[in-house]
Amino acid sequence: MSERSDVVYMDHAATTPMRPEAVAVMTRMLTDEYANPSGSHRLARRARKVLDESRDVVANAIGCDPGEVVFTGCGTESDNTAIAGAIASSGGTAVCPAAEHHAVLHCIEHVDGRVVAVGPDGSVDLADLERVLAETSDVAVVSVMAVNNETGAVTDLAAVARVVRRRAPRAVLHTDAVQAACWLDLREVWRHVDALALSAHKFGGPKGVGVLAVRNGVRLSPLLLGGGQERDRRSGTHNVAGIAAAAEALRVTDETRVDEARRIASLNATLRERIGALDGVRFTLPADRAVPGVLNVCFSGVENESLLFLLDEAGVCASAASACASGAMDPSHVLAAMGVPTDWARGSLRLSLGHTTTIDDVERAADAVVAAVDRIRRRTRAAS
C-alpha cells in the first residue's frame, strides 16, 4: 500500500492536494515554458501567452476583468497588499474583525488599525462594525474574510458591504476569500467588494501563488518595487508554471464546485453524526453556518495536542487552531473571539475535507476521533 492511501487526509483547509490537471500543466510548464514572460523573444512570448490565458481563466472564475487580476506570491501577500497598500496609498485607518486570519489581523495590528468584535457564530458584529466606522473618520480599508479558516463560518458580505458603503464610503472593502474558493461562487463574493485575495494551494494549485483581484479605479501602493510586472502592482518575475497550474486548478474547482459542495456536505453530515454520538461534544457552528469543507468541534476534557498526536498515530492528519513559529499549537484566537470557553477551546479540532475525500476517509477519521477522545478521557481520569 502506498504511503498516501495509508493516510486519511483531513487537513484540506491547510493545503488541499494539487489537482492532477494542475500537476500536469505545471510539469509541462516547468519543462517547456521556462522563459521569462517579460522578454521579447519567441520563448518569452509563449510564456507570456500562458500567463495571459491564465489571467483570463482566473478573471472568469472571479467574475472580474483580466486587468483586475494581480498575481502574487501567496494569500498573505495578497492580504498585506490590500491592507498596507491602501494605507500607503491614501493614509487612514484599517479595520477588520477579530476572527480574521493572521495574514489580515497581524497586518491590521501592524498599522495600528481597529479590530471589530465577532458574534458567537463567528460572523462580524455588524453593530460594532457600524460603531467603529462611525467613530473613525478616516477609514481607508475594511477587511472581512469570506470564509473563516478555522470554523468555516460564512460571512454575509452583502450585509457587511451595506454597512461599509454607508459609514465609510471611501474605504476599500477587501475580503480574504482564501477559504471560499472551493465552496462559494467567487462572482457572488466579488460583487460586494473592491479587493479579493486567493491562495492557489487551497484549491488544488501549488504553494507560492496568490491572487489579488483589485477593482479598477482602486489604488493600492505595491509592496514590492522592481521590474514593474503586473502593471506596477507587483514586481518580481512571474512564477509562470505556478500561475498556469493555479489557473487550471481554479477552472476545475469552479466547474465542479456545485456537485462537489453537495458531495462534501453529505460526508460532513456523516462525520458530524458519528462524532456527535460522543459525550461532551460541542460543534462550533451548525452545519448551515459553515462551508461543507470545514468541521470544527470541541471536546470537553481533552487537550488537542494529545488528540492530534493520537489521530496522527492512527494515520489521520488534522489540525487545531494555528501553529506558532516553533510548531506548537497556540490557543485559537478565533474561538476566543467567538466567546468559546477556554476549557472547550483547549479541546478543539478542525477536520477539513476536500476534493480527494471519500466516505472511507470519513469513516476512518470518525473511528479514530472516537477512539482517541475516549482514550484521552479514560487515561486522564485514571491519573487524576
Binding site: E303, L310, C324, S326, A328, M329, D330, R375, T380, A383
Partner: protein, 368 residues
C-alpha cells in the same frame, strides 16, 4: 519500550534520544514550548526547537512540540515573580522540573501511550532498599541530581536518564560521532525565560522583574544601623550577596539580611551569616521520611555539608548543621544525600525567616 524524549535542542537530550533509539526503543522526541516571550538562553527559543527537530530528523525519529506555556506561566514564572516580591530567591529550574518535565509531561506521555519519559539530565536512577531513587550522575562536575531530586519512586519508574552514566565529554563524543548538529553547542546557562541583557541595558533579571512588579529602593546599613548607601531594587538582593551593595564593603562584607517590607538591606561580616540550622518545607522524600545524618547540597553546583535531619510534626524538616554554616537564601532548595554522597534521600525549600529589626540610625542590632 515506547519512550517520549524531552529534547531541549541541547547536546545531552540529543544524545539521550540517540542512545534510546540505538537501544532499540520506539522513540519520539518532544520539545516543550514553555515560554512565549523573549529569551536568548535556555530551552524554548525557536532556534532551540529547530535544533531539536533537526536532530530528530537526523535520528529518523518523530518530533513534536507541546505548548505548555500556560502551565509554565502558572507553575514557574508567576511564583518566580511573586517570590522576588517577597524577598525570596527561588530556583525556577527546580519548579519547572517538578511541575512541567516530570508532572505534566509524564501525564501527557501516559495519555499518549508511552511507557516512559526520558531527559538529558546528568543523573542516574538506582534502587536502594527496594525504592527507586535519584542518584548522582557519573560526571561530578555536571551532576544534575540536585534539580531532579523531587522525583518519587512512581515517577522514576517511568523515567529514564540515558546520559546519566556518561561524562559530558563522552556525551559530546557520541554526538560528534553521529554528526549531530548540537555536538558542540554550549551548555545552557541561567534562567531560560530571562535574557542576559534587558532592553534598557540593565540586567535581564531586573528588567524582567521591573515589568511585572514594583522594584523598590532600599537603604543599606551595617549591623549597627549605620547607613552605608542604597540599592535600586531590594527585591533583587540575595542573602549572602557580596557585589553590588554597600559602598566600600569590599569582599569582606556580605548581605546578612534583606527586609523587603522595611526596605532595608543589612550587610556584615561572614560570621553574621553563620547559623546552626535551617528550616525547610515543601519536603519531598525518596522513600519514607527519615531523621538522621546526611549530606546536604544547597545550590545546583555547590558542595555538600554534613547535617542531621529532624522531621517536624507539620512535615517540615529541620536541617541541623554539624558545624555553623552560611545561611541559605529562602526559596532555595536543600537536597539531602546519603552519607556516601551517592543518592538522594529527599529535598526541601528553605523557609523564609523573620527579618531582623535594624534600628533606623544607630544602636545595637536585635534579632526578632
Amino acid at each position: 519500550m515506547k519512550v517520549l524524549v524531552a529534547m531541549s535542542g541541547g547536546v545531552d537530550s540529543s544524545v539521550a534520544a540517540a542512545l534510546l533509539r540505538d537501544a532499540g526503543h520506539q522513540v519520539v522526541g518532544v520539545t516543550m514550548r514553555l515560554w512565549g516571550g523573549e529569551s536568548d538562553t535556555g530551552c524554548c527559543s525557536v532556534s532551540d526547537v529547530d535544533d531539536a527537530r533537526r536532530v530528530a530528523q537526523q535520528l529518523d525519529i518523530d518530533h513534536l512540540v507541546f505548548n505548555f506555556t500556560d502551565d509554565f506561566h502558572r507553575s514557574v514564572v508567576d511564583p518566580y515573580v511573586n517570590d522576588h516580591a517577597r524577598g525570596i530567591t527561588p530556583n525556577p529550574c527546580i519548579e519547572c522540573n517538578r511541575h512541567l518535565k516530570f508532572d505534566r509531561l509524564l501525564e501527557r506521555a501516559d495519555v499518549l501511550g508511552f511507557d516512559a519519559v526520558a531527559t538529558g539530565h546528568h543523573a542516574r536512577i538506582v534502587e536502594v532498599d527496594g525504592t527507586l531513587r535519584v542518584a548522582r550522575g557519573a560526571d561530578a562536575a555536571k551532576d544534575q541530581s540536585y534539580v531532579v531530586h523531587m522525583l518519587g519512586a512512581e515517577a522514576l519508574s517511568r523515567t529514564l536518564f540515558p546520559v546519566g552514566h556518561l561524562h559530558k565529554s563522552e556525551v559530546r563524543a557520541v554526538a560528534a560521532e553521529l554528526g549531530l548538529r548540537t555536538a558542540t553547542k554550549p551548555d545552557s546557562q541561567d534562567v531560560c525565560f530571562i535574557t542576559t541583557k534587558g532592553a534598557d541595558g540593565a540586567s535581564g533579571r531586573s528588567s524582567f522583574l521591573r515589568q511585572r512588579i514594583p522594584l523598590n529602593v532600599a537603604r543599606v546599613v551595617d549591623e549597627t544601623g549605620t547607613e552605608l548607601g542604597s540599592v535600586d531594587a531590594v527585591e533583587m538582593v540575595t542573602l549572602g550577596q557580596r557585589r553590588g551593595v554597600a559602598g566600600g564593603g569590599g569582599n569582606k562584607r556580605f548581605v546578612v539580611d534583606v527586609d523587603v517590607a522595611g526596605r532595608v538591606v543589612t550587610v556584615g561580616p561572614e560570621s553574621s551569616l553563620l547559623v546552626e540550622r535551617e528550616i525547610a518545607d515543601a519536603v519531598t522524600w525518596s522513600g519514607a521520611p527519615r531523621d538522621g545524618e546526611c549530606l546536604v547540597q544547597c545550590s545546583a553546583h555547590g558542595d555538600t555539608r554534613p547535617a542531621r535531619l529532624i522531621v517536624d510534626a507539620d512535615g517540615s524538616v529541620e536541617v541541623r548543621w554539624s558545624s555553623p554554616q552560611r545561611r541559605v537564601s529562602p526559596g532555595q532548595s536543600v537536597v539531602f544525600y546519603d552519607l556516601d554522597d551517592r543518592w538522594v534521600i529527599g529535598g526541601a525549600t528553605v523557609r523564609p525567616t523573620p527579618t531582623r529589626r535594624v534600628p533606623a540610625a544607630t544602636g545595637t542590632p536585635t534579632t526578632s
